[in-house]
């Protein structure tokens, strides 16, 4: 079998297996973990075994993705179900890394909360598999199935704490609204298929260009419904109502996972759909523009009113979805690079913040108020420092990755003429100081209410390592962002380049039911 990595022919089985290697490895790992926990699920050691197996599977899948990236694998021939480009590999790395960090944080958390659910790790693997399929989907069908795979695993993970009524509420709410959002998405896909006779993203782009469908009512309604579905998944205002309640009721590591990896996956899929299929349709720019403005303003204003840390972080993640939408709305190469960079930075800082929150209390951390952090700097200086760095990075303070990311989004927005959008972003960031800074002020400037106020705080060795790595990454990217930015630029461009509307694109083959 001779393989040409630069021109994989996805209609051949061998090449298809190579192109899907990361997903296949992860599938095998998930099945293996399921098998192991079927026999060993009684003691905490069994839980740890499942966790380490999960980490090994994530590592193997990451290696496969890296190998394809290193070989600069590309697909040749007619557009297939799965994209083979840098954007997919970089997104895969982001998802796998986030999942691995979540697994590491979960070890201690599961033991402390006595959540003996060994399938927890298998479901995490299924969720990240769904994310990888979403980011790599070249076809709306694969995208939808990936989204469902991710969502179904997460509905269960949100309710994995079976003793908690809030957990059950979170799971049910997430399930109902998620099903609702899937309905919108599916209806949108059906209408887009009706207008273009294909579900392949590249071919949709070609059909729109060749048939002149930019103003076709059916296509535009379909696009609108797709945006509603994605709006639900990324928790953009006005489709954000579920997010705070679901994050609040879920186990804290899962809440962090939902705020980072899930959002990143939905954004990656949205980015690819808009960039590859609808690049020639101007209508979405205005819609995303309004979504971005509403999300930034409303998310930040409601976050100001929150008293508990978990809900504050939930609204903060809504606000950050607005910043990412700004990068999507620009629709330029610079916007793509800024989008990917900010996605990485946002993932690091939010994940670390949730990991620190998970260390703070018990009972799902639902009642940790911002005032409860008073005097943390005297008692636990390193934890306070880490949380302070996360807050500053979320705020967009210089020398953190959050600042660089926001800066590039601003540059992308202004250079594409979206000055108003950039101004709203700056104003929204100023508002966000009103809820990020009180956390730091409470930790450093208020006295400890009582000597044992922070006695129960415990962040195990693995959790500390995760937080330390994330904080170090934030500071490093804040000082030396060049390498990541280069990767972001190249892989962001790999999505843009696909829907070439030039004449050398083969005419769209219709899905005519010709058997063989």
């Amino acid at each position: 079998m001779n393989l040409d990595f630069q021109a994989l022919d996805l209609s051949r089985t061998g090449d298809l297996l190579v192109a899907l290697a990361p997903e296949l490895v992860l599938t095998l790992a998930a099945l293996l973990v399921l098998l192991v926990v079927a026999w060993r699920h009684r003691t905490p050691e069994d839980l740890r075994l499942a966790g380490w197996l999960t980490l090994a599977g994530l590592g193997a899948a990451g290696f496969a993705a890296w190998f394809l990236w290193w070989q600069a694998a590309r697909a040749a021939g007619i557009p297939a179900m799965i994209a083979v480009d840098d954007f997919r590999f970089v997104a895969d790395w982001l998802f796998l890394g986030t999942t691995a960090l979540t697994v590491l944080v979960s070890f201690d958390y599961l033991e402390r909360e006595e959540l003996w659910v060994p399938e927890y790790f298998a479901l995490l693997l299924f969720a990240s598999l769904g994310m990888m399929l979403m980011a790599g989907a070249q076809d709306l069908m694969v995208l939808f199935l990936g989204l469902e795979l991710m969502s179904i695993a997460l509905y269960v993970l949100a309710g994995s704490s079976r003793r908690s009524a809030a957990g059950a509420e979170a799971a049910l709410k997430y399930f109902l609204l998620g099903a609702f959002a899937s309905g919108f998405l599916l209806y949108g896909i059906a209408l887009v298929y009706g207008a273009t006779a294909t579900t392949n993203l590249t071919l949709i782009g070609v059909q729109i260009a060749t048939l002149g469908l930019q103003h076709s009512a059916m296509l535009l309604i379909g696009l609108g419904l797709l945006l509603v579905g994605f709006g639900f998944k990324v928790a953009a205002v006005p489709f954000h109502m579920w997010a705070p309640d679901v994050y609040d009721g879920s186990p804290t590591p899962i809440a962090g996972y939902m705020a980072t990896a899930v959002k990143a996956a939905a954004f990656a899929a949205l980015f690819r759909v808009l960039g590859e299929a609808f690049a020639a349709v101007p209508a979405w720019h205005a819609i995303v523009w309004w979504l971005a403005v509403a999300t930034m303003v409303v998310g930040n204003l409601i976050a100001l009113a929150q008293r508990t840390l978990k809900r504050m972080l939930a609204y903060s993640s809504i606000a950050h979805a607005g910043y990412l939408l700004v990068a999507v709305a620009t629709g330029t190469g610079a916007g793509a690079a800024a989008f990917l960079f900010y996605l990485v930075a946002y993932t690091l800082m939010t994940l670390a913040a949730f990991a620190l929150l998970a260390a703070k209390g018990t009972n799902g951390e639902r009642d940790v108020r911002i005032d409860d952090l008073a005097g943390l700097a005297q008692r636990r200086p390193w934890l306070a420092l880490a949380l302070a760095v996360c807050m500053l990075s979320l705020l967009g303070f210089p020398v953190t990755a959050g600042f660089i990311g926001k800066w590039y989004i601003l540059v992308a927005a202004t250079s594409s003429g979206q000055v108003l959008l950039a101004a709203v972003l700056v104003l929204a960031s100023v508002i966000s100081a009103g809820y990020y800074l009180p956390v730091i002020m409470a930790m450093y400037m208020q006295p400890e209410p009582s000597a044992d106020a922070h006695a129960g705080m415990r962040l195990g060795r693995l959790g500390s390592a995760v937080v330390a790595a994330a904080v170090a990454g934030l500071l490093f990217l804040g000082v030396r962002p060049n390498r990541l930015l280069d990767i972001a630029r190249v892989s962001g461009a790999s999505v843009r380049a696909a829907p070439a509307v030039s004449s050398d694109v083969p005419p769209a083959p219709l899905r005519e039911p010709t058997g063989r």
């Binding site: 009684r42 003996w116 694969v142 207008a195 006779a197 009512a217 059916m218």
Partner: protein, 173 residues
Amino acid sequence: MAGTLVLFWAFAGLALASALGCITRRSPVASALWLVVTLFALAALFVLLDAQFIAVLQLLVYAGAIMVLFLFVIMLLNLGHPGPMDVKGPVGVGTAFLLGGVLLFQLWILRQAAPPASIQLPPGSVARLQQEQGLVGAVARPLFDTYLIPFEITSLLLLAALVGAVVLAKRRL
């Protein structure tokens, strides 16, 4: 031709009437049984469209398996007694009419936006395909070549759902 048309209108009317029955009955069991009638009428419409395989699937999967599940759930939850209406007051009715109006408007739009002739299947191609490959083959073959990847993902999706259901439902290991 005329016979087909008569059958179409008969089954279409039956489908609409039983769907109305499904949403207006107060007893959940009666609603579920009306739904069975709707599904049968739809299966008949599929036969009229030369889609016999889908018609059989409709009967087996929907009218068979899924309806049995519905009835099980109704019995297990003991929902046999008529409860209060869900849609209350003028606001609820108004919303219902508004949403119905939006749907009608969409239908009207979609009628206007007929797909261009260039992306429609040539007439008779489906019938020719059924002649060549049989009813089942024409559906089954693409599942294993063109749509192989989505098909396999679906199996994983079902596995994840199964595991999830067990995780949520079991009390002790």
